[in-house]
């Protein structure tokens, strides 16, 4: 890396003692670039086995990469922590202004340790860190309101990120998220609860530094190439026009769109919650993360009439994406467009992972249908497919946890079904609620073996779609495909390049951009770095009790037909075993 780059600055913040300091970790950045690669090492250093995720011992690591602030679409922040949801590796990625703000504040990573005795929020403006008393905003359940208040009281407009939690994080719901810039999230695996456990309501970061670059002429030329390919790419146009919601109809036609707790994989109401429907009737604004020309963030404007006053309305601005549409839409049998948006907003207000929340509600609905739980547990609520009003009430109860049942729901579907039964239709894999792809074996195997049990770890859904035209893909080939994709994605997430731009950032482009930031690497180096980071994540997971042999596979996933027909359990198990052999034989 370049000698005068501030990337290697790691800001450590100790909430217990209200202290902060900076360490120069050239060693880590030189070897692992940034993002996921650096974060997993920092996490490993600070989080020994046995740490309680909600205790003061669990660190939060944020990391960005060398291309951040210099090249477009390298604007994700990787967060790592021990997940209160799975009790294992927690990794979540978020865009908005977070990555550019951290980089231009003069850091490559931030490590937040300890636990505050009083509610605080952190304001990191360049080299100054302020511990602000958050007593006056602790208890505000609405994440929009928290953002609005901090926006007014802090400087750095346009150059800052405001990461905050809503009621779910404060109440330690194990799948509470952290929200930034109102519409982006560290969504999965419960970072919001880790914030809550530390009495940390928000983290504001701002900065506007200069960044060094190698040869300026080549820099501008390389920049222009990346920019031109970004704005000219059909993938980028798709994400701009309809956003990720554009995937609803194709996945439904394919028969891979989980519906009513995955009793089916085609939804008759898909058109009502499709990207086309939202764009035509509700799209009010598109937004972009810093330094990304795409603007995949789609915001619906929902006009609501105040029932007690004529001619008086309010307009809700609600972001929608494919995954929440699946989880809070088809999976709950919701085809009421307005109802979906209101439920979506409710989940955003309280700050829950929309995917986990939807899966939890879908399980509860089926459990009540089957008589496993009654209105005694639900406190009088009667869940019905498509009934958004009841689901909205349930979201509030999950956050507030007035009884054992809602406390169980607040710990996720694996826990709730272990208490009340119905595990065979509880849609979680390795403790994380499933994403919206019933496209075939690779989607589910991918989530099982993915280091953070996310569909984005290795894009199994995409492997399925590629394999549809092939005859009988063997489990060895499938496991190897997923592993090789996940290893390459370690490189991208260490550069914090958005996965939507993976088609632009092929290895030759990555190497060119890296050279300008002082990293002289080869393609082989990149592959080695990706493999080493992946191995390190798995070592962390195993040290914290994870085993590929213990993953419970809910029967529902096997029963409901995919575009490949029913997926066989033995095929899945063989693929997982083969994957295990492959990572065990890695030399790193």
């Amino acid at each position: 890396m370049l000698a005068n780059d501030t990337l290697a600055n790691v800001l450590y913040i100790d909430l217990s003692n209200k202290q902060y300091w900076v360490r120069h970790r050239v060693d880590l950045f030189e070897r692992y670039l940034g993002g996921a690669g650096v974060a997993v090492h920092l996490l490993d250093e600070e989080c020994p086995a046995g740490v309680d995720p909600l205790s003061d011992e669990n660190p939060i690591v944020f990391a960005v990469g060398p291309l951040t602030g210099l090249f477009p679409l390298a604007s994700k922040t990787v967060a790592m922590f021990k997940s209160p949801h799975t009790g294992n590796l927690g990794e979540s990625h978020c865009g908005g202004r977070s990555a550019v703000a951290i980089r231009l504040a003069g850091y490559g990573a931030i490590v937040v340790k300890g636990r505050s005795d009083i509610p605080v929020y952190l304001a990191i403006h360049g080299d100054k860190v302020h511990f602000r008393d958050a007593s006056s905003i602790w208890g505000i359940e609405n994440s929009f309101t928290v953002g609005r208040i901090i926006r007014e009281s802090e400087t750095g407009a346009g150059l800052r990120t405001i990461m905050r939690i809503g009621g779910a994080g404060e109440k330690l719901v194990s799948y509470a998220c952290v929200i930034t810039e109102t519409y982006r999230h560290f969504g999965r695996l419960g970072l919001g609860a880790v914030f809550g456990g530390k009495k940390l309501k928000a983290v504001v970061v701002s900065g506007r530094r200069s960044l060094p670059v190698g040869d300026f002429k080549t820099y501008r030329k390389t920049y222009d190439e990346i920019y031109d390919s970004a704005v000219g790419s059909p993938v980028m146009k798709k994400y701009h026009d309809l956003g990720t919601a554009g995937n609803v109809l194709p996945l439904n036609i394919l028969g891979g769109f989980p519906t009513r707790n995955l009793a089916e994989a085609k939804f008759e109401g898909a058109a009502e919650i499709s990207g086309e429907k939202f764009a035509e009737q509700y799209l009010g604004r598109r937004l972009a993360c810093s330094h990304c020309p795409v603007a995949c963030i789609h915001i619906a404007a929902l006009r609501e009439h105040y029932v007690d006053e004529p001619y008086f309305y309010k307009t809700h601005m609600i972001s929608y994406d494919y995954e929440p549409i699946y989880a809070l839409g088809s999976l709950l049998g919701v085809s009421d467009t307005r109802g979906f948006l209101s439920l979506m907003e409710q989940v955003e207000i309280f700050g829950l992972d929309a995917m986990s929340a939807g899966v939890v509600l879908a399980w509860a609905t089926e459990a009540q249908e089957r008589g496993i739980i009654s209105e005694k547990e639900t406190m009088g609520l009667k869940f019905n497919w498509g009934d958004c009003g009841t689901f909205m009430k349930a979201v509030k109860l999950i956050v507030r946890q007035p009884n054992d049942f809602y406390s169980a729901l607040a710990r996720g579907v694996r826990y709730a079904s272990s208490v009340y039964g119905g595990m065979e239709f509880s849609l979680s894999l390795a403790g994380n609620e499933m994403p919206g792809y019933h496209t075939g074996p690779a989607a589910h195997i991918g989530v099982m073996i993915g280091a953070r049990h996310s569909h984005l770890d290795n894009a199994g859904y995409s492997v399925d779609q590629k394999n549809l035209s092939k005859q009988d893909v063997g489990f060895e080939e499938l496991a190897a495909d997923l592993l090789s994709e996940e290893r390459w994605r370690q490189v991208l997430s260490s550069l914090v390049v958005c996965f939507f731009a993976r088609g632009l950032y092929k290895s030759d482009v990555v190497l060119k951009a890296l050279e300008l930031t002082g990293f002289a690497l080869t393609r082989e180096d990149l592959n080695r770095i990706g493999e080493a980071i992946h191995k390190r994540k798995y070592e962390f997971k195993i040290r914290h009790g994870f085993s590929l042999d213990d993953i419970y596979l809910p029967k529902r996933i096997l029963e409901t037909s995919t575009p490949f027909g029913q997926v066989s359990e033995s095929y899945i198990k063989s693929a997982v075993s083969h994957f295990k052999r492959l990572i065990d034989s890695s030399p790193y």
Binding site: R103, S210, Y227, C289
Partner: protein, 134 residues
């Protein structure tokens, strides 16, 4: 020629114009950007794009005690950095907030109307317009 905001409603807040401005001056990052994009009190309400509008009779130049800022032919100003004492009067005089500040050298940074940023606004927020000389 001068830079105009064609339609701020089209702005997606990507800030590519800001990065372009810095790059034009051989700088990475944002310290040297003479154009700013920030939300209007929350991203859902959209964005404001702040940049010098090349006034005919620039307020910033009128309050400069050393004559470091001089009106430019066609609108806007030119800075003679050697003459600037960093008093900040210009910054206070611009209602738009288009006089940005270089904290490192304690001097103003003002758009020179080069139009490089327009190339990096894929959504048509910025445009360049020839201005009739008066």
């Amino acid at each position: 020629m001068r830079l105009l905001i064609a339609d701020a409603e089209k702005c997606i807040g990507c800030q590519l114009c800001m990065f372009a401005c810095a790059r034009r001056q051989n700088e990475g990052g944002l310290a040297e950007a003479c154009i700013g994009v920030r939300s209007i009190g929350g991203m859902e309400r959209g964005f404001t794009v702040i940049v010098c509008r090349a006034c005919d009779d620039p307020a910033c130049a009128k309050v400069c005690p050393t004559g470091a800022l001089k009106p430019r032919n066609g609108g806007g100003v030119r800075l003679d950095a050697a003459a600037c004492i960093g008093c900040g009067n210009c910054k206070d005089a611009c209602l738009i907030g288009a006089v940005f500040w270089d904290e490192e050298i304690n001097k103003p940074m003002i758009c020179i109307q080069c139009g490089y940023c327009i190339k990096f606004c894929p959504h048509g927020v910025l445009k360049k317009e020839a201005k009739e000389l008066t």
